[in-house]
Amino acid sequence: MYRQAKTGKLMIEILRDKCDFCGCCVGICPEDAIELKEAEIYIIDARCTNCSKCVWSCPIEVIKFNREGVLV
């Protein structure tokens, strides 16, 4: 697991309320660390390495890299 060193929280945050569930981030994720159902999305935290490729590729800016970590 790769978490924020001090807080131990996940650093990639998907703003679910704004997500379009398009699957772009899933196709890009090298670790298969994103689960996407019909209208439900979350990060499989045991696999996420905080590489941020999903953040860069999200067409509508709903994935954020959070330095302090986020509670999920």
Binding site: F21, C22, G23, C25, V26, G27, K37, K53, W56
Partner: protein
Amino acid sequence: MKTNYDIIVVGAGPAGSIAARYAAEQGVSVLILEKDRDVGYPVRCGEAISKAGVEEFIPSDEKWIAAHIEKFSLNSPDGTEAIVEFEDAGYVLERRIFDYALAKTAANAGAEILTRAYVNGLIIEDNKVAGVKYEYRGEPKEVKAKIVIGADGVESRIGRWAGLKTFVHFRDMECCAQVTAAQINLDPNTLYFYFGEEYAPGGYFWAFPKGMNTANIGLGVSGMVGKQRSALSYLNNFMTKRYPDAPVLTSIAGGVPSTVTLEKISAPGIMLVGDAARQVNPLSGGGIASGMIGGSIAGRIAGESIKLNKPDHVLTYDKAWHDRLGKRHETFERIKNGIYNFSDDKFNKIAHSFNKVPKDKRSLGRLFTTALINQPSLLVDIAKVFVI
């Protein structure tokens, strides 16, 4: 519903439905699992396709044709418009109806379809894919099959679980945002393309008419660009400038894997089709027609493999695809890399010189030739497209 099928197709988009149909037509049992409630919805697509691309698989039907296309309008950064005319070139589809029609042809051929079935794992036996695990209305289920066809779109997780390397480098992903808007006064039979830094660096911006003054307006930019600025912000910029008051009927996002096909699209018990196999035309970003072609080849081979009781036959799919389109896509990829890196100045020059060509001689081939004068190294690749 049975607990055991010859073939399971995951995903009921065009590639999945065609794969299921070509397999079912051979008398083998086929089940399609679709994660959403509906086949064909939500749409994640600009919806343009050539007439030939459609009619190889289904006769044209006004029910799913939103617009008939006769012209391309290619717009350079300084606003110069180059128009290329075609006869009966293609359509802008109503995908939610089109996908439904394709799924019906699969069902009529004997395939079963189950929606709201979310596949979340594979059953592996003796190092071979032997079925899928899925969630249906909240309950975990399993179903066995001799062959699983992954038509699960851009996500392409089925392939990964089977050990194929399917993830796309973010540079090769065209990140797209699109709105379907009303009160857009464009020619109803023209596809509009816009190139350049302002519109969509490393990609293109489009406006495709959909009848009654509505249009799909959107763009795709490489993930490399997305790192600095998102597709959405380019789209908002365009809409604010040109159509600030246009009512927006739909707004969607999506990823288009714009690159060559995966190195391996089959393994024992598994085949990938459509976006999942990265069978999109890398130059245009169009994936409906090429996905259906991939689906038809995979469906045919899967059916044959079952009937002949020859599991290894599925492995011939890679070469069959490569010979039909895969090889061509490699050339398109090289042209794409040439063209999409053009500077604004170069796009302008091409448009200016193209407009000096007599009107009756303006064709897409001619446009490429004009592009060549500005980038001679493209010659070899473009020649290949027209020779093959």
